[in-house]
């Protein structure tokens, strides 16, 4: 019974993405299978080099890069959104799988959840 948490909001402008990560890490902490899917501007969470000190926020880049250590099974990103926002092998954080057909991916999970 695998849960897919979907993030479609860009980082830092709202707390929705952070609260999505909290959901994913909580499921993982209880040994429940969970993956994260980034679509639309949500893929910007996965870009290297985030420096949010100037807006008094903490970077989540390191948390995401360590997601597999926390027990999150996969970091999935919509390939078209990556292309749209200029995300390539050179600037994506490690461990991201780009997927071509998001609709098909969505079909594979019993639970598909947005945090808000």
């Amino acid at each position: 019974m695998h849960t897919l948490i979907v993030i479609d909001q860009p980082p830092y402008g709202s707390w929705g993405g952070r609260e999505s990560l909290d959901m994913a890490f909580s499921l993982a902490a209880f040994d429940q299978p969970v993956s994260l899917l980034f679509i639309d501007a949500g893929v910007l969470w996965l870009k290297q080099g985030q420096e949010p000190d100037g807006i008094y926020q903490k970077s989540v880049e390191r948390n995401l890069a360590a997601a597999s250590i926390f027990g999150v099974e996969a970091l999935l990103a919509e390939a078209t959104a990556c292309h749209r926002f200029g995300l390539t092998d050179n600037n994506l954080i490690n461990g991201v799988t780009r997927i071509e057909n998001t609709g098909t991916t969505l079909q594979q999970y019993q639970h598909v959840v947005f945090s808000g």
């Binding site: 849960t3 707390w15 609260e19 959901m23 499921l27 209880f30 429940q32 019993q110 947005f114 808000g116």
Partner: protein, 141 residues
């Protein structure tokens, strides 16, 4: 009572007065019980925690969603939990959190309680059986 009784967990992520999420969820919750099903828990997450604020004071000719939900929960003995991380960030605290963080007031309306995401995880695990459902009510902006 239907032969196949289902158990629902309702997750509300939209705040009252900035979204319809609490009212859609309440209409749904009433219909769940009318059909003879059960609600094991209502979970408030993100902006949804504002529903549990005892300080909301809308004009008297508008629905007070905190009170409407509180009445429903008490009448049907349905537990409702606000996520502690979402709640503390947004200034929603019970007496024990007020003491812990030495805050000037507490504002958690009865019968809402504050607890961790573990409660939501438990509902999610339970919903792997066919007779159990977790339904999310998001904001509409």
């Amino acid at each position: 009572m239907p032969a196949d009784i289902h158990t629902f967990t309702l997750v509300i992520t939209g705040a009252p007065y900035s979204s319809q999420a609490p009212e859609t969820a309440l209409g749904f919750a009433r219909a769940v019980l009318r059909a003879g099903h059960t609600i094991d828990r209502v979970f408030l997450y993100g902006e949804g925690v504002h529903l549990a604020s005892s300080l909301a004071s809308p004009p008297s000719d508008e629905t007070n969603w905190t009170r409407a939900w509180g009445d429903f929960l008490q009448e049907h003995s349905v537990p409702a939990v606000a996520c502690i991380a979402s709640a503390l960030r947004r200034g929603l605290v019970n007496e024990s959190e007020q003491k812990r963080y030495q805050l000037p007031a507490s504002n958690l309306a009865a019968p809402f309680e504050i607890a961790g995401l573990g409660e939501w995880v438990e509902s999610t695990i339970k919903s792997s059986v066919q007779s159990s459902r977790v339904i999310y009510f998001h904001g509409g902006a």
